[in-house]
Amino acid sequence: MSKGGWALGIEGLTAGMSDSEVIEKITLDVLNPISREPVDLNPIEYEITFNKIRTILQEGSFALARTSGSPIVTECGEYMLAIFDREGHAAYVTTGVLPHLAGTEGAIKWLIYQYASSPGIHPGDQFLINDPYIIGIHTNDLLITKPIFIHDEIVAWVASLTHTVELGAMEPGAPAHSTDIFQEGLRIPGMKIVEGEEPSLPVFKILERGVRDPQLVALDNVAKIAANNVVSARIEELIKQKGQEFFKQVLKKMIYEGEDKSFERVQAIPDGVWRAVSYGDFDGLKKALFKISVTCEKKEGRIFLDFTGTSPQNPGPVNSSLPGSIGSIFSVFVSTTFWDLIWNRGILAPLKLNIPKGTLINPDYPCPVTAAPSTAAALLAGTVTKVVSRMNMAAGFADEVCAPWLSNWNGIFMGGINQHKRLQGTITMDANGGGTGATGSLDGGDTTAFMLAPGSLMADVESYEAANPLLYLFRRQREDSGGHGKFRGGNGGEAAVFIHNTQNYRIGFRGIGKFVASTSGIFGGYPADSIQNGFIYGSGLKDLRSSEYKKIKTFADLESCSQFKEMTPMAAATPVQDGDLYYMRWMGGGGYGDPLERDPLCVARDVEEMKISLEIAEKIYGVILNLPDFTVDEESTQKRRMQIIQDRKRRWKHAKR
């Protein structure tokens, strides 16, 4: 059913539904296997064409990254390119911001539903959409999608998405304390940004006048249009060579294969139930304890994920809309159980989800959601990782077992007049270098990645300094920040950054996980340490000679020479002056297994490389080292480990006897 009479084939979608009802139906449809049609393809030709399509999307990604001028895109890689069949079913996604696969499928269906009749969908059109209740996550994630036509018939859709620096919200970059979606910047439920190959100047003008950084926002959009054009031109060439019917069948088969292989893999999992709970500590407005609770059940050849027990939606933006939450769950499965399958909607086919309405992972419109990737969506991914890893262990997929990666994302949001005398709103993305969770055979990666955007990176310090009025005093890995264990969670990091060459600037913070440990370990591994944010105002440190300030290498050094003003995990952007300094630290990954099982030689190496402290080596790992050469004192280590075991026995109590 659609307004334009285009059969989307979505059960229960009827005329006269409210927008919210339509969006929910369309969003949940990504979980339904698609109806099957006969496919008659030579398997070798299919594989060759599938790989051609992958290569075409990669080429589109390169075009996007080379055209955009935003460091978030060019260096951090915060973008996604994907291809969809005629009805909008996701056939393949390149790496990047993975949670958007599900929401982008919904967005295309929404565009078909809303606009197929009027104003119509025509060759050369491209649509801009960023409503987080339709595409998921937050307004900063701006999607442009283009239908690919052959002889006036749509054969596929290509979609490009970037995390855009700024969308004109109540605070520069994005707000930390919005109380509804209307405070979170421009929200577009679909407009033609290109009409019949002609850019729509009114749409570009809306974006130019509605945001703080019109140049970078425009460049991002031009880059996505270019990427879509590159992909559509290549696909048209491919269809000329191979034929329209062949191409359509290849897309269908890609989805069928995703479905079939994921169902097949689920069969290896024994029937059972796995549960996990994770906690957060700040609702956007105040300190507040909340939780995400999941029960994962394998039965009848499917995986049921039930989030009953999850806390109600938060008053501030610590929420994730339904498509963002489904996408976050997709991100976990695509990074673990199904990592080697075709990355498309087929991976979701064996899943049945119950995400209660009114919770922080399925809030009611117009609840604020802009902090989703830093908070609710990241915590959701960490929680789901715990149950999926336990399930994978029981299935014998030992290589797909890991502790949660950093389950929050501490972001710094900023804006004002920068050093180039230009109005600006932006964000630094140091937390993309998060610690990943340890596995059953490897330590987590130190300052490596973020599960919701595993292909994304932290930009070079110099890039941030060139674009923003900032000077980094240090950015480094932080010892003891990952979860301890037989295999150690990857360490997170910390940064101290001067405000430089501006007198009109504001800085805000956006994260959770300071007062509670939001990134857990697994199987006896410990949680990662907290995040932290704060300022040193008028420090004078910037005026020190380089030989002096180079001695300031850690938070303790900073604290010893200046007054540190501790901030809450989320804090609205407040004015700063030239020479002020902000400090932030971001999380590591969870640990795996009992730390007493860790090879003492690995502990010695960790201490020497400043991954863990000498104190923790002795207290938690029970390893005594000979200094200064960092060799293991084997006899003392054995005694210390026995002592820890005795201490456990002395302190423990029993639930039942």
Binding site: P270, D271, G272, V273, W274, R275, A276, V277, Y279, D281, L289, K299, K386, V387, R390, M393, A394, G396, A398, G440, D480, H484, K486, K514, F515, V516, A517, S520, G521, I522, F523, G524, G525, Y526, P527, D529, S530, Q532, Y592, G593, D594, P595, L596, E597, S613, E615, I616, K619, I620, I645, R648, K649, R651, W652, K653, H654, A655, K656
Partner: protein, 99 residues
């Protein structure tokens, strides 16, 4: 069909008894039987509620969160660390269906 031995955890195994009548959860390190497979093992093993500050996790509010550590009752290997508000019940995190 349930396999006779399933590794359900880094340090735990679910094993069907020789006569095949029941399944149990055992410690992989020392072989101690913790409980019947149909039960929550955490209710049958000793635990410690640890203050996160013992790990130098100094910013955690211990009124809101403790680290609950579960051990094998025999060899004392650390089986799980649940970051949880004080006083919460023992989360049943692994429950394999045994026919």
């Amino acid at each position: 069909m349930l396999r006779d031995r399933i590794r359900i955890h880094e340090s735990l195994i679910l094993e069907r008894s020789a006569e095949g009548s029941k399944a149990e959860i055992k410690c992989l390190k020392c072989g101690t039987v913790l409980c019947d497979a149909s039960k929550n093992y955490k209710e049958y093993v000793p635990y410690v509620d640890r203050d996160p500050r013992e790990l130098n996790h100094l910013l955690i509010d211990s009124a809101w969160m403790i680290y609950r550590e579960y051990y094998c009752p025999h060899c004392a290997i650390l089986l799980e660390v649940d970051p949880t508000p004080p006083g919460e019940s023992h989360l049943w995190d692994i429950q394999i269906r045994t026919p």
